[in-house]
């Protein structure tokens, strides 16, 4: 080492700003190409929604679980509140909707999905011409946030989140209670009885039956609203596509147990929209077939999703939609392959064997109940350790989702469980699903690097 510390030789100290590593970052991530097809499908889906009224379609606004196969079978157009909020955030266009929500009276600590979507409701109702924000560029941004067609009715089916039910109740009021609302109750799966566990025990056997009955009532409600008999055959057909797409998705995910991984959590995040709310059809199946094919080809060609994969990390928390590309590059910068996550791997039709095409409502009820924020701690611990084992996880990044306490509240306990039972290191960082203001890069980087240093030291001890 040669240090010239004299005052007159600043150059030799190399104090120039370009010395900072963050300015010289090379993107070491290698995202799947096939997921861009999903982006196109999602864009087309929303464009279609925006013209629903012109086409004389009934529109339902809903939140929470994936009721869309039912809506599709009933000939409805459906708008999923979180999905639209996430889309706005991913495009960095959430600001006008959130501002509208705040102007209406919803505080920043409210779930940012809810806040954004409520803002959309306000804007949809008021119309863009009434907005005079005076902010340059706001009008263009307004155009997307205010494009949603007003609903003909609401359906709420939220598991594990009390805010979800209040959110739709508030939206109902924003629209002057002019449109009916139907609530599906999804009880918590506590998992604290002796025979309880993931997909097992008397609690598990009984609760879906209760939900299945409610789904039947929902269908009666939809028939009443649309004045049309429900098409049960169409529902079975829809679920057959969902089942196949889900199987392909899981098979593709399982391929990522390979090291280095051919695809990452960020690719699975990009694939959430298709499996969660796009129409169930052959295109959906084709999409996941393409994703699986690309992953298989990557394995054959020994192509990894992260250049120089040195650490395999699990992501716990809902995605920070404002930061998808940024976090993809950020973790890869430190040779981290984020290979799995609670949000991607334990949500969205993740148990396709439960889908019975002769009795589709039961399988749907079961899936709605296994939402990752609807379990008691015992089951969450079981699932976390299972995923850590499957994907040979070295560390866990806990995204402390600031306005989603339902996802965040057990994280410290889960961190201890992973450390105690598997010796897996972890760290927490703050952020949010659809509000960039809660993310602080220094906080993420300090925690991430410290965790990687701990992993290195742990490896050196072995």
């Amino acid at each position: 080492m040669t240090l010239d510390l004299s005052l007159s030789t600043k150059q030799s100290l190399d104090l120039s700003p370009t010395r900072t590593r963050t300015l010289e970052v090379v993107d070491k991530s290698n995202r799947l190409k096939s997921t861009s097809l999903g982006g196109k499908m999602v864009a087309e889906y929303w464009d279609n929604i925006f013209t629903a009224k012109e086409r004389g379609k009934h529109v339902v606004w809903y939140n929470g679980t994936a009721l869309n196969p039912i809506f599709q079978a009933a000939g409805l157009e459906w708008c999923h509140g979180e999905a639209f909020s996430a889309r706005l955030a991913a495009m960095h266009l959430e600001g006008p909707a959130q501002q509208a929500g705040e102007e209406y009276g919803y505080i920043a600590e409210l779930c940012s999905y809810a806040r954004t979507h409520l803002g959309c409701a306000v804007m949809t109702q008021k119309g863009i011409t009434e907005k005079q924000s005076g902010i340059v560029g706001m009008v263009d941004q307004d155009q997307l946030a205010s494009k949603l067609p007003s609903p003909d009715f609401f359906v709420n089916a939220y598991a594990g989140c009390s805010t979800g039910q209040q959110w739709d109740a508030m939206t109902y009021r924003v629209f002057g209670k002019d449109f009916p609302i139907f609530n599906v109750s999804l009880p918590m799966i506590w998992g604290n009885k002796k025979d309880s566990g993931y997909l097992r025990g008397t609690e598990w056997e009984k609760t879906p039956l209760y939900v299945e009955e409610q789904l039947k009532k929902l269908i009666e409600f939809i028939e009443y609203q649309t004045k049309k008999p429900f098409d049960w055959d169409a529902l079975s057909e829809n679920m057959s596509y969902i089942k196949r797409a889900s199987e392909l998705r899981l098979e593709a995910m399982a391929l990522c147990a390979a090291a280095p991984t051919p695809a990452t959590y960020w690719d699975w995040v990009a694939s959430i929209a298709p499996i969660n709310f796009l129409p169930a059809n052959q295109l959906l199946v084709d999409y996941f077939q393409a994703v699986k094919d690309e992953i298989q080809q990557r394995i054959v060609n020994n192509i990894s999703a992260v250049q120089n994969e040195r650490y395999r990390v699990y992501f716990d928390g809902i995605m920070n939609w404002n930061k998808l590309g940024f976090l993809t590059r950020k973790f890869a910068e430190f040779d981290v392959a984020v290979v799995a996550g609670r949000y991607t791997h334990d949500s969205f039709w993740q148990e396709p064997q439960l889908i019975d095409l002769d009795r589709p409502l039961l399988g749907m009820a079961q899936h709605y109940l296994i939402c990752p924020i609807n379990h008691g701690l015992k089951i969450m611990e079981e699932l976390l350790l299972k995923r850590c084992d499957e994907y040979a996880i070295d560390g866990i990044a806990f995204h402390s989702t600031r306005t989603c306490r339902a996802m965040t509240n057990p994280q410290h306990i889960l961190a201890r469980t992973a450390e105690r039972d598997r010796g897996i290191k972890s760290f927490s960082f703050e952020g949010d699903v659809a509000d960039a203001a809660f993310y602080k890069d220094e906080s993420l980087e300090s925690g991430l690097v410290a965790m990687l240093e701990s992993i290195d030291q742990q490896r050196a001890k072995v």
Binding site: M1, L3, L5, H412, Q457
Partner: protein
């Protein structure tokens, strides 16, 4: 002052924090030969230069006597000549474990953030928790208090030790705390009680961090806030166990960085020798007709593309007064 000899070498740890720069030099035996803390304001490049110059001068060493430098702290990317960076978490754990063997829990409260670090029996990080985005419970918190009470920083601690009534000040954020303090002053509350209440709030906040990693004993406190006797008292009471304060708690991170530099250099020495051997074998292979390097026509002994790491390692060997056989 360090007495240099051919076999002895030195490493440096530099901790560029949010309000101070700290530098420590450790010799090849692992002994600290000099240290310096410089108060220079927010992440100051000038501060780190002064600290590094001062610590070299104190040890009577030249920059080229330092075989490896590791930086840490918020400004770790700005430390000139650093070979590698580590987080404060790893470095404080290592430094505290060296200064207080057997430590199991390190509480580091610096100017900008707070950390609770569970340490294993080898002085390595087991678990850690960082404060969230705001400056609650950090040194900044006490700066704000000092300004609001219009007293010097050391006096704030003394006032707190004299206070008795708990005024239940919010622990949520430094800005809110300042507002609360001004409000309490306006209500005629005693300054000593206010100061004590703020300290109690910070202790409670720190206790929350400790809860995340799990209570363990013995406890050592590092960082600038460890010099605040009132906080030690309140935190110790809240934790219900004694807290050891290091003689110079601010240098723990820089010392840890220096010790890691020493570890790495010890490892690097043997690896460098191995690499040199490998290179010599490459030369031998070249002479024996092995495939040539297309870029340099096989002149491996003067290879312009020699791996940088090997060049650095060779420099380190020379800097350390050691020469691989035949060099």
């Amino acid at each position: 002052m360090a007495e240099s000899n051919a076999a002895e070498w030195f490493v440096m740890g530099v901790d560029l924090g949010s309000t101070t720069a700290k530098a420590v030099i450790v010799n090849s035996a692992g002994d600290m030969v000099s240290s310096r803390v410089v108060q220079m304001g927010a992440v100051s490049r000038e501060g780190v230069r002064v600290a590094m110059e001062a610590v070299l001068a104190e040890a009577q060493l030249r920059p080229e006597d330092i075989v490896r430098t590791i930086s840490t702290g918020y400004g770790r990317r700005l430390v000139p000549g650093a070979d590698k960076m580590f987080t404060e978490i790893t470095c404080h754990a290592r430094g505290a474990a060296a200064l207080s063997p057997g430590v199991r829990l390190v509480i580091d409260i610096g100017g900008q953030d707070s950390k609770a670090i569970a340490v294993d029996d080898e002085g390595l990080v087991d678990r850690f928790a960082l404060n969230d985005r705001c400056a609650s419970g950090t040194g900044r918190f006490f700066d704000v208090l000092s300004r609001a009470l219009e007293v010097d920083l050391p006096e704030v601690a003394q006032l707190a030790l004299d206070g008795s009534t708990d005024l239940e000040v919010s622990s949520m954020c430094a800005t809110f705390a300042e507002t609360e303090v001004i409000s309490l002053l306006a209500q005629g509350a005693d300054k000593a009680d206010i100061s004590a209440s703020v300290h109690r709030a910070v202790a409670g906040r720190t206790l929350g961090l400790i809860a995340q990693v799990g209570k363990a004993s013995p406890v050592v406190m590092t960082g600038g806030v460890a010099k605040n006797p009132a906080l030690i008292k309140f935190l110790s009471e809240a934790l219900r166990q004694p807290i050891e304060v290091l003689d110079d708690p601010q240098i723990a991170g820089a010392l840890g960085a220096a010790l890691i530099a020493r570890d790495e250099h010890l490892g690097t020495l043997s690896k460098a020798i191995a690499d040199v051997d490998t290179e010599r074998q490459l030369v031998a292979a070249q002479s024996a007709g092995a495939p040539h390097c297309a870029d340099c026509d096989g002149h491996l002994d003067t290879h312009e593309h020699r791996p940088v790491s090997v060049i650095l390692q060779l420099n380190h060997l020379v800097g350390a007064g050691l020469r691989p056989e035949g060099q």
